[in-house]
Symmetry: C2
Subunit: 336 residues, 2 copies
């Protein structure tokens, strides 16, 4: 870990000037302050004094709603805060817009604002800070994202492989042999991971892997309208969805076009959102324990702060069987 | 979770008799006591009173030495105790012989001895309790072992995939194209996992996967003597070993038979035992942070006790480059 001394040497300035730069003093230029912060970030500076003063963590959120109980991020944030605050940490929640990320490198932002560590929710592979996470030296925990080989960055999420294997096993027992996938665009880590988990699960049960059984699309309703009939025409009798929101759109689409769920088509989601019990039929889905995910995020941060170099924590991903899955149809539904 | 009432109902006896059975009272028969304990185990009884009284955890060890600092298990046990004892737990260490496991089902043993949770080291897939872990309802953390779908059991270990990918990347950069594996018998989870990690890493770098490049054997020295020349005759110029102990045996074997390491053959181990710096040349190997693994084991137990259903925690597995790897030989060494 670099010290104030290292930064001073690197920039050829005094230790007291470095200290001013790191501590928001107003009697140095903004330009010099930025230079000091960037050098600190580059050298992997860790402010040891932080440990004695404010204990501050932050949660960066993007592409995820979290402010009311039915939002996906609500319980994740709540679980994290419960455990972090019980340990005496103050937790700030910061919307990490692309603009913010473009404006300030990650480590500079963290040093500047005195955060010891962060929990990162909802980032895609296109977020500028994803590159920073590859080399940063500040404890950082990513939900449903992963960077290789950096001992300062850990990943938490549900075990996609376990969830998809349980789903395929369930469908296989019901007689389904042609199982499709409708998922999002490949610009997110999790979409890639679930795509891979789907392929592995099919292999495991010796089921046909076929590009005609897979469709990726950004908008849930549009994907349901276009791709559900397309996959059924290709012989698919059951579809796995990368997210509940897509599966729910598909149930609505089926209900409005006369495709019976599960008699004509079985549907499985991923997330177990509160909404899933209110569709008709209720959705069979893979459960993400969001409160546990938040708590787990804090455990991972604690580990990194205690020099336990966790790479990833995977939570169990049980399958919750409800009404949207049933035996394979004897006569396939003809989609016009 | 079952209660004393449930056990009493199941057996058709009074709650006070059940209580006697669970609390080592002497005025009931040993036979009845066993029946009560087994029923408690079967029903998933959790003694809530335990939480207020003795806070007791245990570490079960098999096939692993841990009593002096150079032993593999020493730092794992130490790391676990550091964190557990700081939280007020008493930690017992119990050699889990096959005899013990055959005599008493796992859950019965735990209830009988008042343990809240356990950390399990060194078990093979043949250990009788491995089957119990599939269904037990007592928080249990397995080092380098895994059971599916049981939310009461978590796994901790190093990320074999990361370690093997770093190794293959390193060898690939040095020009090696035929990379072998010498590993142990498939009766251990970890041997299987590393075998799979080896195959995945080769695929990733588009390298030849060939059964003639792989050998499995129980005894390290014998495996080195027989398999190192055999793999070299098959064109292999670098060998990954599933454990340092095997890699060290191979270096010794090479030194005594005139095979130069790394000029004729590159060798990579797994574990980073203290011994690896003392071989000639020193061993390039994948680092297992054993102190962190022990601490991590305690984090996993804390999570399970707090109803955070962790499936697995993987630690980073950095490659430590020392003297036993070098550029691919221009002219292959002829093994007679």
């Amino acid at each position: 870990m670099a010290t104030i001394n290292d930064i001073a040497k690197q920039l050829g300035i005094s230790k007291s000037t470095v200290s001013k730069g790191l501590n928001h003093a107003t009697d140095i230029s903004e330009e010099l302050r930025q230079k000091i912060l960037e050098t600190a970030a580059e050298l992997g500076y860790a402010n040891k004094k932080l440990k004695k003063s404010d204990k501050k963590l932050c949660i960066f959120i993007e592409n995820m709603h979290w402010d009311t109980p039915h939002h996906f991020g609500y319980d994740i944030v709540r679980g994290f805060r419960q455990f972090a605050e019980a340990d005496g940490w103050k937790v700030d929640i910061i919307p990490a817009t692309i603009e913010l990320q473009k404006l300030t490198p990650y480590t500079v932002f963290m040093i500047q604002n005195g955060y010891h560590a962060s929990f990162v929710l909802g980032f895609t592979l296109l977020d500028p800070w994803m590159r920073d996470f590859g080399t940063c030296k500040i404890p950082t925990v990513l939900y449903d994202n992963y960077v290789k080989n950096n001992p300062f960055v850990a990943s938490v999420g549900c075990d996609n492989q376990e969830g998809f294997e349980l789903s395929v096993k369930h469908l296989h027992q019901l007689g389904h042999r042609k199982i499709g996938l409708i998922s999002g665009p490949m610009e997110s880590y999790i979409t890639n991971a679930r795509h891979q988990a789907y392929m592995n699960a099919l292999s495991k049960y010796n089921l046909e892997i076929n590009e005609d059984f897979i469709r990726l699309g950004y908008y849930a309703s549009e994907a349901a309208r276009k791709y559900v009939p397309a996959l059924m025409r290709n012989g698919v009798t059951a579809i796995l969805f990368s997210h509940d929101i897509r599966a729910i759109a598909a149930i609505n689409e089926c209900n409005s076009t006369g495709i019976r769920v599960p008699e004509d088509l079985s549907i499985i989601g991923f997330d177990d959102l509160p909404l899933t019990t209110r569709t008709e039929p209720a959705l069979t889905t893979i459960h993400q324990d969001r409160l546990a995910l938040g708590r787990c995020g804090y455990y991972a941060i604690s580990s990194l702060l205690n020099e336990v170099p966790i790479g990833s924590i995977l939570l169990r991903a049980p399958l919750i069987v409800r009404g949207s899955t049933g035996p394979v149809p004897k006569n396939p539904h003809v989609v016009v």
